[in-house]
Structure formats: C-alpha cells, structure tokens
C-alpha cells in the first residue's frame, strides 16, 4: 500500500524523527503514522505545525513509503538511509542508530 509519513529533524540533536499517530515524534520509522488520504495528511501536517510551534522539530516533510506487513519502507534510497539513522558505511555509531 502506498502511503505518506511525516519526517522531520529533532531541533536539539538534529536527528531524524517521524510523527506518530499519537502526535509524538519517534526515531523509529516503524512507529510513523501513515497517511493514505488527504484528510489524514492534513491532520499530520497540523500536528507537525504544532510541534514546530512547540519548538520540538524542524524541516518537516512528507515522504512516500510502501506500507507492508512489516511496516513502512521508504520509496527512495535517500529516505531508507535516513531511516537507518546512520551512514550505510558506519552502522555501529553509538547513540544515533534508529533501532
């Protein structure tokens, strides 16, 4: 299933975060809230604007994902690498990997 999720960066750490269905922000892609219609997209956007106003995140952007049984898989390689939280050549950096 094609869907969109909302990604941003944490203001303090700069690390990648995803908007969850409870309106929180998670480092884990799997916790991202899917939007499959314009109404849900608008709701996610509204939540992210509240978070920007609340000074929690920066640079929010929707990304396209393929929503599978195991969770979302970003369509673009760029977003798959972002979702890992670390460069592909240094998966062991402590404290920043998403999983």
């Amino acid at each position: 299933m094609n869907a969109k999720i909302l990604s941003a960066h944490d203001l303090r750490s700069g690390l990648v975060v995803y908007l969850t269905s409870e309106g929180g922000w998670s480092r884990k892609l799997v916790r991202a809230a899917p939007a499959t219609d314009e109404r849900t997209e608008a709701r996610l956007l509204d939540l992210s604007e509240q978070a920007i106003g609340g000074n929690r995140v920066i640079e929010p952007a929707f990304i396209d994902v393929d929503w599978r049984e195991t969770g979302p898989v970003p369509a673009r390689l760029r977003e798959r690498i972002r979702a890992d939280g670390v460069p592909t050549i240094m998966p062991e950096i402590p404290g920043v990997a998403a999983e």
Binding site: I52, L77, I89, I93
Partner: protein
C-alpha cells in the same frame, strides 16, 4: 604559522558570544527556524541527512599540533570520535548537538580557529598548495598572501551577500597541487623574465553543474596590488553576477557570458579606480605576516643520511611508502610526508580522534609542530628530517595511517555522498571502498602508477569528478543509484575536464568498468607513460570500446 593579533581574537570571540545568544534564543523559541537558519549557516552549522554538521575552517590547510589536538578533543567530547577532512582543506563534524555548538566554537577560538564563512554566499576558506613553503618547485611561499586574503575577506561588508559562494586558491609552485584553474579565482606566483615575482590571475573556473577551466585574465600582477585586484574582480561579480538563477550565479557563468576580454576590461576599469588606494599592501605589515611563515630552524645537513638509506635498502615496505608518500623538500636532509587518510576499506578523509592525536604528536616531535591538510583529503607533515622517516612510518602503521598509496589509484577523493549529505543522489564512500578492495594489491597499484579517481554523489561535484583522471558521478535513476564514468580530467597545471564515456553503471558495474579502463591502459601504455598521458594520446575510443563491448584493446 600565523598567530592571531588582538583584532582577530576579538572578532572571533565576539562572534562566539553572538552565536551563543542566538542559539539560546532559538532553543527558547524566541527565534523561529526560518529566522535562525541563516544565522547558523553563517557559523558553519548545516542540517544534513542524519543530523547537524559543523564545518570548521582550516585556513589554507595549515594546522599546529595544538590545533589538531583540539580538533580531536572536540570530536571526542561533542561528536562521535572522528572528523572528516574535506576538499576545501576544512574539517567537518557530523553529529554535533545544537546546544553544544557555542561551546565547540569557544573551544576552537582558544586555538585561533572558527567556522565563519564555511557556508553561504561569501568568500570561503582560501586554499593553497599543501606543500607551500617547502616545495622544491616553488617560486615564492603563497601562505602570507593566503593569510592576507583571509584577513581581507573575513566579514568583508561589501561581499557578505554575493550572488553565490566564492572560492579562491593559490599556489607558488610550477606543479599545481591546488587546482587553481578550477576555482572562482586562482592565483599563481610566477617569476617573470626580468626576475620580478607576480601573480598570474585566473578567474571564472569551477566545477559543479557547469564545469569550466578558468581563463587567465592577467599574466602578471604585482603582489602589492593583490587585494585591490581581487576587490575589483569581486565588485564586477557582485554587481553583474546573476541572482535570478542559482545555477547560473557563479562567476564562471558571468565570465563565460561576457567573454574573457569584456570581463577583464570591466575588472581592469574598476581596478584603475581603486588601485594605489588603501588596499595597497603596506610593506611593513606584509613583512610582519611573512615573518610568521619563515622556515623553521632546520638542522644543517649535507643531505646524505646513511641511517635513512640503510632503512630504505633493508625494508621494501618502507621503501614503497617512501616512494609514494615522501616528497622532495627544499631543505637538504629533509622531506615532506603525506599521511594517507585512504586506508583500503576506510572512509576517504576520515580520521579518528586517536589518529588526529597521533598526527599531532608526530608533528610536534618531528615536524616543528606543523601539519597541513591537502585538498586530496590527506594530511601532511611538512618538515621532517630524513633520518626520522623510519620511526614516523612505524608509528603511522600502528594507527592505520601508513598506507603507501599517495597519488595511486586508491588515493581516492570522495565526497560524503548519500551516506551523509542531504543534496546527494548516490553514495560515494562505499564505491571508494569497493574500488580499494578490488585493487588491494600494492604491487599492482605501483605498476598502474599515478592515477587519480574522484567520486561525487551529485552534480555539485564536491568530489571533483570533473577533474579525475577517472571521474565518477553518482545519480539516481528510477530510485536506484547509477554511476556515470568519466575519463581524462585533470585539476593540475595541465587542467582538463573529464568526458563521459556513455551509459551509466550499477555499483558493481562501475567497478568492473574501472578495471577494464585500467587494463586497457596497461595494455596500451608506452614506456614510462602514466594513465592520463595514455588516454590523451589514444583518445576515448579504445577505452569506450573496451568498456561497452567487453574487449580490451592491445
């Protein structure tokens, strides 16, 4: 080395405190991200693919041991224990937290460093020959002039909002190790037939989306007029450079659109107005700065060194390292050491905190406390006694810094690519690693000889792919990485732009293609001919034929 005077110190400290206040206001929400973004960028703080990235300027690539130790300390205390040396002779930290950045900048200020003008449409860190002051083929040391340009360009009020970023490089040597023809302005110190030394001035070179080799706009500029002439160039560019289209905003486009003659005419006309004014170099001030770059007190020697010769004869691995990583020095009995940051399987340009400290210690013990960063992403010990080379090599080996590949195929320039960079379309680092792995054989590499591979993960060309003997450009096609192969570029005194061979390759395919190109060269080369000269002699056709038909020409 240059030492800050009270003006430099005050300027940097005031800037740290200003940014501390700006960060505090950002964290409370008093500044929005839209308001804060230009402020953080003015202090070298980017937001990249995974996190913030802080780019710290290393003026003309020259560092003291104390400065290098501080860079190591910052990486350990505030980051993830490593740093990345760039093609602009800077260092980047990939994981700083916003709240820590003012403290990082305060620590940098303690050792006379900063991150000012490492971003934005301003004059960026001036770069120079990493062998400056010690190269045998040098007419004059470019570093005092590089320092003057640093002072002139730092927070220059007229040039704080140029149409686009602006990069200046200098050399004083015949061999161009600073890629001056690929810069917005390139400067080369030359001796005229009458014996006078002056600058050859090049303007309008560059890489990126529209690569251009810069034309010479003045054959001889008296050094005392350096700053007024630069100011005249910048004024013409600032006034007429395009601001309507980001991709046409660099000075190379202006020079190209106006034509070299008309651009030069405008520069000369502006220069005539300001020449002999306040920007004329005061001789006393120049001598004060020049004195800080005086050669260190080298031990007098006749140049022969039996201990060094004995090690060379008795240890082939050491001899292989000396052959590639040690260069002739102007002082008898001394040498210039290139410390490779390209271990096979490593990340080009990266150094761990421990490695930085080792280099700092070695520089302190053996190189008068001085280190250089090269635009090829290696480190240099510029003042080493030949008799110390063997001990240095052993220390470097112990810490993964002894790879004997300077100038060889695995001494690859690679941009951070899609592993770090938010602009990239493809990864560069894994490709560099796979190439190094395919060619992980010292004898084979030495047989291939001089060969520069340069990899960029997007069209912006931070990895200098346009001037690679073999250049690789990563693109994205249908969601996958695709690599275009380019051949025949050079960033040196014989500058040329690499040309694309044809359709692109997958990651594995490009490595096979490189091997085919190398085999084609080995089969076709004449006695003593390096890759670039074979390519120039034969042209692209035999290489293309071999790559795309699977035939290796004889």
């Amino acid at each position: 080395m240059y030492r800050y005077d009270s003006y430099d110190k005050t300027l940097v400290l005031e800037r740290v405190e200003e940014f501390r206040d700006q960060v505090a206001r950002r964290l409370t929400g008093a500044l929005t991200e839209e308001q804060f973004r230009p402020l953080r960028l003015m202090n070298g703080l980017y937001l990249q693919l995974h996190a913030y990235m802080l780019r710290v300027a290393i003026p003309y690539g020259t560092l003291s041991s104390d400065q290098m130790r501080k860079l190591a300390h910052i990486s350990r205390r505030y980051d993830k224990g490593y740093g990345h040396f760039t093609t602009r002779q800077n260092i980047q930290y990939n994981w700083p937290e916003l709240e820590d950045v003012p403290d990082i900048l305060a620590e940098l200020a303690e050792v006379e460093m900063h991150a000012i003008q490492t971003s934005g449409n301003v004059i960026r860190n001036v770069t120079t020959d990493h062998f400056a002051g010690v190269a045998r083929d040098e007419v004059a040391d470019p570093r005092p002039y590089a320092e003057l340009i640093r002072q002139w360009s730092t927070l220059h009020p007229e040039f704080s909002f140029l149409p686009r970023k602006f990069k200046i490089a200098l050399t004083g040597a015949e061999q161009d190790r600073a890629a001056i023809r690929l810069h917005d302005i390139g400067l080369k110190l030359k001796r005229r037939e009458d014996g006078d030394i002056g600058f050859e001035v090049i303007a309008g070179g560059g890489m990126g989306r529209t690569p251009m080799i810069g034309p010479v706009i003045r054959a001889h500029l008296e050094p005392e007029h350096l700053l007024s002439y630069l100011e005249a160039i910048l004024r013409v560019y600032n006034q007429h450079g395009r601001r309507d289209n980001k991709y046409k905003a660099r000075i190379k486009i202006l020079v190209h659109e106006l034509g070299t003659d008309e651009f030069t005419r405008q520069v000369e006309a502006e220069w005539a107005r300001i020449k002999d004014g306040p920007l004329t170099l005061p001789e006393a001030e120049f001598r004060r700065i020049q004195a800080m770059f005086a050669p260190p007190p080298y031990e007098a020697t006749d140049g022969s060194d039996s201990r060094f010769e004995k090690s060379l004869a008795g240890d082939t691995a050491f001899a292989a390292w000396v052959d590639r990583n040690v260069h002739a020095h102007r002082a008898p009995g001394h040498a210039i050491v290139t410390i490779s940051l390209k271990p096979h399987g490593g990340i080009p340009g990266d150094a761990s905190a421990q490695q930085m400290e080792i280099v700092a210690d070695l520089a302190e013990r053996f190189s008068f406390g001085e280190i250089r960063v090269s635009h090829e992403q290696n480190l240099i010990l510029p003042h080493v006694k030949k008799s110390d080379l063997y001990a240095i090599w052993w220390s470097l080996l112990s810490f993964g810094l002894g790879t004997a590949n300077a100038g060889l195929l695995t001494d690859i320039i690679a941009c951070p690519g899609l592993d770090y960079c938010s602009l990239a379309n493809a990864r560069s680092i894994p490709l560099a690693q796979k190439i190094a792995s395919r060619f992980d054989d010292g004898e084979r590499l030495r047989n291939i000889g001089d060969l520069k591979i340069k990899i960029s993960g997007c069209i912006n060309a931070c990895g200098h792919h346009h001037v690679g003997h073999i250049g690789i450009l990563g693109v994205e096609k249908k969601g996958e990485e695709l690599y275009q192969l380019m051949l025949g570029g050079s960033g040196a005194e014989d500058a040329s732009l690499a040309r694309i061979t044809g359709r692109g390759f997958s990651e594995d395919g490009i490595i096979d293609a490189i091997e085919t190109v190398v085999d084609t060269y080995l089969n076709a080369r004449e006695e003593g001919e390096d890759f670039l000269h074979t390519y120039r002699r034969l042209g692209a056709e035999p290489f293309k034929r071999a790559i795309y038909s699977g035939e290796t020409s004889k």
